[in-house]
């Protein structure tokens, strides 16, 4: 993950950046205009904090651990860091968090990572292989199952590879667009879900959104990434937007914030 890509936008003195940094920046930009974001463990943590300092100053962070309106004095190392409580506007029980904030429909964007994802944005974070005799036992749902169902929309952030972007996931931990947009919309409506499902997938190579059929569509290639690279790291032939965009380089300010303010030790960006 230390591969550096030179800026491709022709800007003067483009800062060098890693694939992880590009992924974080791209995810942060997608949060423009959003209001309430549910923050899970890992990359979402830094992406949402970057968004709050750039495109979404009004963004309210709801930490899965129960802190609301956090003003961390340092980049929280985990979603349970004590720095997210001191100075927060509220610290609540998990019952309240999951019942009233998440299931109650107050969360605009839920972030999910994934071990496997399919073309309809259905997600596996439970096991690779058979459930009873797994090849790899993954962490499991945590809050992912209920975030996928209840957050108004879902952002996925993950690195892509043949093992992670697959035709068929081994276990469905979090429902996406199920077998397609029509079924998904019907079920979400019938069941009174407040969430509309996945809306964006940001990887180390590209940005995807979901088209009318509920399928992932490649919309923007990160600088330095190629269509061949994308195809080699997916288990299906992706739909491709016309025209296909190139993700703008991280700005100098975005890079400064990541490297000097948010993650000076490189915990997320190594």
């Amino acid at each position: 993950m230390s591969a550096l890509a030179a800026g491709a936008s022709g800007a003067p003195n483009p800062p060098a950046f890693s694939k992880s940094e590009m992924m974080i920046v791209a995810a942060a930009r997608e949060l423009a205009g959003q209001r309430v974001c549910f923050v899970g463990v890992g990359l979402p943590n830094i992406a949402v904090n970057l968004a709050r300092l750039t495109v979404a100053p009004e963004l309210e962070l709801v930490y899965e651990s129960g802190a609301f309106g956090a003003q961390p004095a340092r980049l929280p190392l985990s979603i349970g860091d004590p720095t997210i409580v001191t100075g927060a506007t509220a610290a609540v029980s998990m019952f309240e968090l999951f019942s009233f904030y998440l299931q109650g429909g107050l969360v605009d964007v839920g972030f999910l990572g994934a071990a496997q994802i399919d073309r309809f944005g259905n997600i596996n974070s439970t096991v690779i292989g058979d459930y009873d005799h797994p090849k790899t036992r993954l962490p499991g749902s945590g809050g992912a199952c209920e975030i996928a169902i209840n957050a108004r929309q879902v952002f996925v952030i993950m690195r892509q590879s043949k093992r992670s972007f697959v035709e068929h996931i081994d276990f469905r931990t979090s429902p996406g667009n199920l077998g397609g947009a029509e079924t998904a919309a019907r079920i979400r409506k019938e069941q009174g879900w407040l969430g509309r499902g996945p809306s964006v997938v940001v990887t180390d190579l590209a940005i995807y959104h979901f088209d009318e059929s509920g399928e992932m569509r490649l919309d923007s290639l990160h600088p330095g990434a190629t269509l061949d690279q994308v195809r080699e790291t997916m288990g299906w032939q992706p739909k491709i937007a016309e025209p296909l965009a190139t993700t703008p380089d991280p700005t100098a300010e975005e890079m400064r914030l990541i490297r000097e303010v948010l993650d000076p030790e490189g915990a997320y960006t190594k």
Binding site: F68, P82, T86, G87, A88, T89, A90, S99, F100, Q103
Partner: protein, 309 residues
């Protein structure tokens, strides 16, 4: 962005004819100031939800704002009945002067469960109440549900999602982050369940006061539409640490409300006859207010959240 508004503007904007309105607070923190403003603005056809309609809904019913009550205990605690409401419940046919008032009745826990389901976007809330009682016959919205584990049947109540919930509290910041202490009732659940929320507070505080004690926050500004600063806004109910329950008024109301005429006279004097809560408080007089102040201070002590840099 401040949400601070006058009571007049908050009620005018948030409360609409035909709405389901919940002014919650169990004995504590009942916002009479908001109820009176709703009367003054001649709102109509409201469905009023509260565990205990208390004097505030008796007054609102007498003033003609309500067509229906959703409740669990209908009385003047420790005193007796609610006469204005009873006039419309007990004599709907012969008393032409009084339109019938629709009642939808639960138990306390049923009402708490309804708000909880509303706040949680659940299609129902299960509880052990009601089995072998006549309440499910009186209210067909109380329905049995079989446990998928074993043979037990419990009852389910449907979600209650008020159009507007109004809660009183000790303090909030301008963004509506609200802290309260003492009896909490189901202020939180009723607020999260509502489409719109008005918070009425004794004191507006800086955001830093709220942030110093995040565990004390009961309602986040996220769900609040208006913050109204209205000292003594809960009188004759009370506010822990600020003023006592005016038990004399609760007793006086029994006589005042026994006749429709004396009830209207009281409304004319104390509701229509004042511009708002400030005037009402002035009218109560310094002596009466002084008698309701706590006899001393009982500080909570401080805890330390620690700085983590």
């Amino acid at each position: 962005m401040t949400k601070v508004a006058s009571m007049r503007d908050a009620v005018a904007e948030c409360v609409r004819d035909g709405d389901t309105v919940a002014i919650e607070g169990f004995t504590h923190l009942i916002c009479f100031a908001a109820g009176h403003e709703i009367i003054r603005q001649h709102k109509r056809d409201l469905t009023l939800a509260r565990l205990t309609p208390d004097l505030i809904y008796d007054q609102m019913v007498a003033a003609g704002v309500a067509r229906k009550l959703v409740f669990s205990w209908l009385g003047n605690p420790g005193v007796g009945g609610l006469h204005a409401i009873r006039r419309r419940v007990e004599a709907p046919a012969d008393g032409g002067a009084f339109e019938p008032l629709e009642l939808e009745e639960y138990s306390h826990f049923g009402m708490v469960g309804r708000y909880t389901a509303g706040a949680s976007n659940l299609p129902f809330f299960p509880l052990r109440s009601y089995f072998e009682t006549d309440l499910p016959k009186a209210n067909p919205l109380i329905r049995p549900i079989r446990s998928p584990f074993g043979e037990e049947t419990v009852y389910a109540v449907p979600p209650l999602k008020p159009d507007v919930t109004i809660v009183h509290a000790q303090r909030a910041d301008a963004a509506g982050n609200t802290q309260m202490w003492g009896l909490l009732g189901c202020q939180k659940e009723a607020a999260f369940a509502a489409d719109r929320v008005i918070v009425v507070v004794e004191e507006l505080v800086d955001e830093s006061v709220v942030r110093a004690d995040p565990n004390r926050t009961v309602i986040p500004g996220l769900i609040v539409d208006a913050v109204v600063v209205e000292p003594w806004g809960a009188h004759p109910s009370y506010v822990q640490g600020a003023y006592d329950r005016d038990n004399h008024f609760y007793r006086d109301w029994d006589a005042i409300s026994r006749e429709a005429a004396s009830t209207q006279q009281w409304l004319n004097e104390w509701v229509y006859g004042v511009a708002g809560r400030a005037e009402y408080v002035e009218k109560l007089g310094a002596e009466r207010l002084a008698g309701l102040k706590p006899s001393g201070s009982a500080p909570s002590g401080e805890v330390d959240y620690g700085v983590y840099k």
